[in-house]
Amino acid sequence: MTQAVAEAQTLTERAGTRPEQQSCGGRVPILTTHALTKQFGSLRAVDALDMEVCRGDIFGFLGPNGAGKTTVIRLVLGLIHPTSGYAEVCGHRVPGELQGALRHVGGFVDDPTFYPLMSARRNLRLLGSMTGPVSEERIDEVLEIVGLSERAESRVGSFSHGMKQRLGIAQALLHSPELIVLDEPTSGLDPRGMKDVRELIRELGAAGTTVFLSSHLLHEVEQVCTRAVIINRGKMVVQGPVSELRPQSDAVKVLTGDQGRAADTLRAQFGASSVLEDEGFLIVQADEDAVPEMVRRLVADGVAVRAVVPAPEQGLEDFFLELTGTDGDRPAPKKRRAGLARLLPGGRR
């Protein structure tokens, strides 16, 4: 176990391993799971999961593909039934008091899907009216929030993936929920769309809505969330404030006129394992004090240095890989880090 993992687990232990011992620091928990377990045949998709989301959090729910994130969301929203354990949402036990819980929750699971022959407005009206008439003003309001006002009367069948994601958020907001659960809302969006959705999530958080954001994009969680949990194979690995989850990173990104030559120079200075190539950058494990010497050596070797910038995201990324990649049948994290990092969406791809 690496030092980072050990530190993180100490953090979780400090917070308490049982939910009743976990603290929201004086804030009220809005969503808790209690030994939540879901078994599909021989596969234990969720394994005695205890986690706690505090009111007002923008809570990151992080894990690699297949970690069980969507299954947990389905359990929390009552779409599937737990094998054992339960969730508590806004004071209502799920699945026992599901209707009470759903009055306070909005969200979507997987890609939000709508009736393709109906307009965005009619889809919202139809969904909203299931619990009583919904005002046209509210529909206008949520469409405005997600930037779909101009396409309100267009058939959803003509919408792009990004527009459907935004309409999914609109329907989640329709009954002014206290908690919004979003399952990878930026999945499949272009950079502009991702930025818009993240901005919206931040604004929702600022307006007092608790957001539960499932993602496998590490930097997304880092950018947007205040607290996070990392799960792997249906088990909680660690949870806590994002700022505390992330170990201090000493990595810097280096861009030069000759990356190959620069890599040789830097490997000679810091060791081969401390230098990785990623998207045209060299990621160097070097603390702040070593940077002037590093630049001096590069210049001395005739390499034109174009940029040296801190790479704080490396901390969470490395941490994430170490937490979730310690399976016995896989190569050790250190050995496969570069390869795995490329496979992880939003990582060093």
């Binding site: 599937i80 039934h81 979507f108 997987d110 009736y115 299931m130 619990t131 008439p133 329907q171 604004e203």
Partner: protein
């Protein structure tokens, strides 16, 4: 895209009228499905085609004979709707019932809308009941269209006259119309069984086509079985056995025994199948 005041302080949902919400939703959904209009169009067109065919056959001295009530159509347009019902009831109406009910849950699962619907704070039982009810309303609309078309084209081609019952007595046009409506309601009650069966399959599978086919296969198998005298013992227990008992309305006085037996069978099967569907749907893991 800006949140402004996104989640709080604006018009929330008013909770009155909640009971109608799922019903309204199902109805609007039906109106947005093209196949609804195909079936309704078929129900409206069939009496016209029957009336036209018999009108032309009447002119032809070698014109053929048709099923129940068909031979009487040429002398009285009142029988057009009844002839259309006897043509629809054995297959087209069960097919429509299986199609609409089979789609109700499985189709939404296929489309991916089921999970969005079930995230609204509405009980699954209410959702299921709304779907069952709307499937029945959908078929009722089809029957009303068939009835209206039958009377319209019956009047145009043959005129509307007092009807002769199967017992040989004559009843007025108004009385006859009342009997035809009772026949349609009986047919609708029969279809409730098909709707419940299809809805049950719809909760089991995530494919509307599978639900439709399973329902039709069971219906046909039962029909075939009860056609053999060896399976006479089965007849009282299966609902398709009573589908054509509506003719007893045209005895004078009305022969209630087979009608009531049929209605009891329809009620028992429909309630039983819907209850099982509810039990399954209540515990269904929505993974689609």
């Amino acid at each position: 895209m800006t949140a402004g005041h996104p989640a709080h302080g604006s018009t929330g949902p008013r909770m009155h009228g909640r009971a109608w919400g799922p019903l309204r939703r199902e109805w609007i959904k039906l109106l947005f499905q093209r196949r609804s209009y195909l079936i309704w169009g078929g129900a409206f067109a069939l009496p016209f085609l029957i009336a036209l065919a018999l009108y032309l056959a009447k002119a032809d001295p070698h014109g053929g004979e048709g099923p129940l009530f068909f031979e009487r159509v040429t002398s009285n347009g009142m029988y057009v709707a009844l002839a259309a019902l006897s043509a629809l009831l054995p297959f087209l109406l069960p097919m429509a019932a299986a199609m609409v009910a089979g789609y109700m849950i499985a189709g939404e699962a296929e489309l991916g809308t089921l999970r969005i619907v079930l995230l609204r704070p509405v009980r699954r039982g209410s959702v299921l009941l709304a779907k069952w009810t709307m499937a029945i309303v959908y078929l009722a609309v089809g029957l009303v269209l068939m009835l209206a078309s039958g009377l319209l084209f019956g009047a145009i081609f043959f005129g509307l006259h007092p009807m002769i019952t199967l017992s040989g007595t004559t009843v007025s046009v108004g009385h006859g119309l009342g009997l035809i409506i009772l026949c349609c309601l009986y047919g609708l009650a029969a279809m409730a069984c098909i709707v419940s069966l299809a809805l049950l399959f719809s909760t089991i599978t995530d494919s509307s086509l599978t639900a439709l086919i399973a329902t039709i296969v069971i219906y046909i198998v039962v029909q075939v079985l009860i056609a053999f005298s060896y399976f006479d013992w089965l007849r009282p227990w299966v609902f398709p056995n009573y589908f054509l008992e509506y003719v007893s309305f045209f005895r004078d006085p009305i022969y209630w025994t087979p009608i009531l037996k049929g209605l009891a069978s329809f009620g028992a099967w429909s309630c039983g199948l819907t209850f099982v569907a509810y039990l399954l749907f209540r515990r269904k893991d929505v993974l689609s």
